[in-house]
Amino acid sequence: MKETIEHQGIVSRTEKGRVLVNLLNVAGCAGCHAKASCGVSDIDHKVIEVVADERDFMIGDTVKIRFAPSLGFLALVLGYVMPFFVLITTLFITAHLTGDELLAGLVSLAILVPYYLILSFFREKLKTTFSFSIYKENTSKQ
């Protein structure tokens, strides 16, 4: 499917080859009525860094950030789903091997550390994978 995810944002800073965009509507929470009061999720605005020719954009421009949901799912898998499986497999294995719940629990929590370490080895690769495209918003309504 050709579906895309789009967010509106405002260019907050431009540097050589990079454009920083302040997202306006972060999915979900931002649209949430309780956002203002929902203190636990303190993060209201997200800044996205996009690789783009900075000369095309001016601070204050309203832009659209676009990326494929498949990328979103990939991010989801790497960020949450994989560690989840790592976590749960470790838990089951250690629980069966040792029969000690405390140990199993702690080990499975600890396994996340190497997981994230491994993930951090690929940070450069990830950086190129998760790229957004950026479009200037035309001011008129479509």
């Binding site: 050709k2 579906e3 479009y135 479509q142």
Partner: protein, 451 residues
């Protein structure tokens, strides 16, 4: 007759079968008398309008170029009558808007001398392939199947593509219309020669003529004749609207599927209408540009349904007068067939290159029933030959959700009208889809411009 019934093909996806009402099928073509005045629109084709090269008070002869093509997708316009150009003015045409047209007062019937006016069939093709395309361009030939796409553009195969098969579209799947049918019957050999010319132009060895089996006599005639023309075969087809659509036709005849958003040439095919083939014959063998065409004038209430040779630019009123005048209870006049034709709001509108028929609908059939809510019966989905979801496309247009429209492939719609024809809730599905298509196209264009 049973012999060809064995191998009848059709396309598999969707489609409808409206009642045929081919009232004028057995009526031979006649020549319509010259009108007193013609107005020849400078835009009778898809693409850039032609540019007038005559001025008011110029004298013109039949076949003379009066407007020259402008740019690649455009074509020449010729005088269809001789006489004096009275003015170049804005005239209501079948688009429903006033647009520029060259108005000529008819005076005699003086043809350019190089045009061969005889009926004699000229079989040898002496022109070279490149020459053919050029001549077709000069002759102002456009697709007569309805799209009025300049034919020379279609014959100029883009680099990197290759055609291996020509299909001549003799389907005429629209109810009522019989002009192609008559041409196939009356100009059988000319069509075949025209086809050969097209094959030569395209450098292909193979050609199918697709005809629906409600035109058994045409199938028989062409089958008999085409033995003499190597490479040309006749393919009988089941009666199934919109088989005349080129993608459907290609699927039916060759079982090839033009990819979404693609053109027939992407599967190595070029499709031309029989009328076009005949026009090509005349242009190449007889030096005659496209100045007249067969128009079916018909309708249930029409006294004398007819097939007429009509000069381009003749007001529709003249055709109606010929068939016995406008019936009292006329509700609608359609240029073209009932499924895809355009309703006219005036009888002075001139016949153009794309006018295949004038259909007169009595008023009790002319009105649409009030639209009701969509009951999601999925009939429209079932009949859509392009595998779209018409109900959804309509709603998305109404809600102005153009991105989703694009995702749901609104641009693939061939505007066949099967969906609106079928909808039990009488929803004007196609009205909205067309609007959605238009808007999406302009959005895409804008997007591309920005890049």
């Amino acid at each position: 007759m049973n012999a060809f019934l064995k191998d009848i093909k059709t396309f598999p996806l969707g489609g409808v079968h409206p009642q045929e009402y081919k009232l004028s099928a057995d009526i031979p073509t006649e020549k319509l008398a010259l009108p007193k005045m013609v107005s020849i629109p400078i835009s009778q084709h898809i693409g850039v309008p032609a540019k007038p090269v005559v001025n008011a008070r110029d004298k013109v002869k039949v076949g003379q170029v009066i407007a020259k093509n402008e740019g690649f997708v455009s074509t020449n316009i010729h005088a269809s009558v001789s006489g004096m150009v009275t003015k170049i003015d804005r005239v209501l045409d079948s688009t429903g808007y006033k647009r520029d047209a060259i108005i000529i007062r008819v005076d005699g019937d003086e043809w350019l001398p190089e045009i061969d006016q005889t009926d004699e069939i000229k079989r040898e093709i002496s022109v070279e392939s490149d020459e053919i395309v050029k001549k077709i361009a000069e002759a102002g030939i456009v697709g007569l199947g309805g799209a009025t796409f300049p034919s020379h553009v279609k014959l100029a195969i883009p680099k990197g593509k290759k055609a291996d098969c020509l299909i001549i579209n003799g389907v005429e799947c629209e109810p009522y219309l019989t002009s192609d049918h008559r041409i196939m019957l009356e100009k059988t050999e000319e069509v075949l020669v025209g086809t050969q010319i097209l094959m030569k132009a395209l450098k292909v060895e193979q050609c199918w003529i697709g005809i629906e089996i409600n035109k058994a006599d045409a199938i028989a005639a062409l089958k008999k004749m085409c033995v003499q023309y190597p490479g040309i075969q006749v393919q009988p087809l089941k009666v199934h609207y919109p088989q005349g659509g080129e993608k459907q036709l290609i699927k039916a005849v060759l079982n090839r599927e033009v990819p979404a958003g693609g053109l027939p040439i992407d599967v190595g095919v070029v499709v031309q209408n029989v009328g076009t083939a005949f026009a090509v014959y005349e242009a190449i063998q007889k030096n005659k540009p496209l100045i007249e065409r067969v128009v079916t004038v018909t309708g249930k209430s029409v006294l004398k349904p007819s097939n007429l040779w009509v000069r381009i630019g003749t007001p529709v009123q003249e055709l109606i007068d010929f068939v016995g005048g406008l019936p009292e209870d006329t509700g609608k006049i359609i240029s073209g067939g009932p499924m895809m034709g355009k309703a006219l709001n005036d009888t002075e509108i001139p016949v153009a290159k794309g006018t295949s028929g004038i259909l007169i609908i009595p008023s009790e059939e002319a009105h649409r029933k009030p639209m009701k809510v969509c009951i999601r019966c999925s009939q429209c989905v079932g009949v859509c030959p392009m595998g779209l979801e018409p109900y959804l496309l309509m709603t998305l247009t109404q809600k102005e959700l153009y991105e989703r429209l694009e995702e749901d492939q609104v641009l693939n719609c061939i505007e066949c009208g099967s969906c609106a024809y079928t909808c039990p809730s009488d929803r004007p599905i196609l009205d909205y889809i067309r609007l959605g298509k238009k808007t999406v196209l302009s959005i895409i264009k804008e997007r591309n411009n920005k890049k």
